[in-house]
């Protein structure tokens, strides 16, 4: 059993210790990590990495690291966070890896895996109103707005459902 997902350009695999440099770089960038609770110090990025690793261990699914040309460029997967809604499709990308369709390509692989391996018909995602990139990506994946909630951090967000096996064309 090889715990990886592959697409044309990307490999998605569970996170590991050596991904700390990529996590730290992402979270050190205030602009890139703005919607992810950043900027964070390296030890806080290490905690995020440990949490992502442990999520796989405790729940059997989680947020993969995206590799392109053998190097980590971001993450994409499904999280189940206590106090936050649903099984959440989530992604992050280093600035240099943005604008190339990587998030969409990784998300499609994760959605297919969620349908096939986990047996889920849909997942959810949510984002701040000003996160237009997330909204565009969600809609391109066939996401449909379900409701709006105020989250534990005090921000209201739209919550979308995304079908895991939708026959969505790019």
């Amino acid at each position: 059993m090889t715990p990886t997902l592959t697409t044309d350009r990307l490999t998605l695999r569970p996170p590991k210790a050596s991904d700390h440099a990529a996590y730290a770089a992402f979270f050190a960038d205030p602009e890139a990590s703005h919607f992810y609770g950043g900027p964070l110090l390296p030890y806080q990025a290490w905690e995020r990495l440990s949490a992502d690793v442990g999520h796989f261990a405790l729940k059997g699914f989680g947020r993969f690291v995206i590799e392109r040309d053998g190097a980590p460029v971001g993450g994409c997967g499904i999280l189940d966070v206590a106090g936050w809604p649903g099984h959440e499709l989530t992604w992050w990308l280093l600035p240099a890896a943005r604008g190339q369709g990587n998030a969409q390509e990784a998300s499609r692989a994760v959605l297919a895996w969620a349908g096939d391996a986990l047996g889920w018909r849909q997942v959810e995602t949510h984002f701040r109103d000003e996160n237009l990139a997330a909204r565009r990506l969600t809609e391109s994946l066939g996401g449909v707005k379900q409701r709006r909630e105020i989250f534990p951090d005090g921000h209201a967000r739209d919550i979308y459902a995304i079908p895991t096996r939708a026959e969505v064309t790019a």
Binding site: M1, T2, P3, T4, L5, L12, R13, P14, K16, A17, H20, P42, Y43, W46, E47, R48, L49, S50, A51, D52, V53, G54, H55, F56, A57, L58, K59, G60, F61, G62, F64, V81, A82, G83, W84, W113, G115, D116, A117, L118, G119, P152, D153
Partner: protein, 177 residues
């Protein structure tokens, strides 16, 4: 459909004492971890935390085992099945070296349970895991933890600092007691 479940396995040795079982972290520990992390009891480990941080602490303890091969056990009371705390070896990326640390949850103090669990964890770490002698980083005013460390035979080695907060660095005696 063929299914390929990507996952991470952690291997956690189960330790047993007279009154306690030290076992792997589980999802089912959530309510106990949440209660501790969000209460004033966590003030000496960086708390109190919000719910997201509490959740993060549950999953990151499991991640620590996967990354380091050692970590914090969940301590279960044999008599009731209740979770009495978390004890084990902590080595975050900004730590000076691996540390024996403990979190004692509400209602489980004053019975010698922390000592019993901490000795089992230390003996395993310094015995079959071949680690140590371990340190414990304890805030100056955390008198309960200092008493526990001293009862275990640890002695103050130096002044330290955890994420900007001063602490004492205790050194445990080597080997297995």
């Amino acid at each position: 459909m063929p299914s390929e479940i990507a996952t991470i396995q952690i291997e956690v040795p189960i330790l047993e004492t007279k009154r306690l079982i030290l076992r792997e972290p589980r999802n089912a520990d959530w309510e106990a971890v949440r209660a501790f992390s969000m209460s004033d009891r966590s003030r000496h480990v960086g708390g109190p935390f919000n719910e997201w941080q509490a959740w993060s602490s549950l999953v990151s303890v499991a991640g620590h085992w996967a990354i380091r091969g050692y970590g914090m056990w969940t301590v279960e009371d044999k008599a009731t099945g209740g979770v009495t705390g978390r004890i084990g070896i902590i080595n975050h990326i900004d730590w000076p070296e691996p540390e024996l640390g403990w979190q004692i949850f509400e209602g489980f103090e004053g019975k010698g349970l922390a000592y019993e669990a901490a000795m089992a964890a230390r003996n395993h770490a310094q015995g079959s895991m071949g680690m140590g002698p371990l340190i414990s980083q304890i805030a100056h005013d955390n008198t309960r933890s200092r008493r526990l460390a001293e009862r275990m035979g640890a002695v103050i080695e130096s002044e330290g600092e955890v994420r900007g907060t001063p602490c004492l660095i205790y050194r445990h005696p080597a080997g297995v007691a």
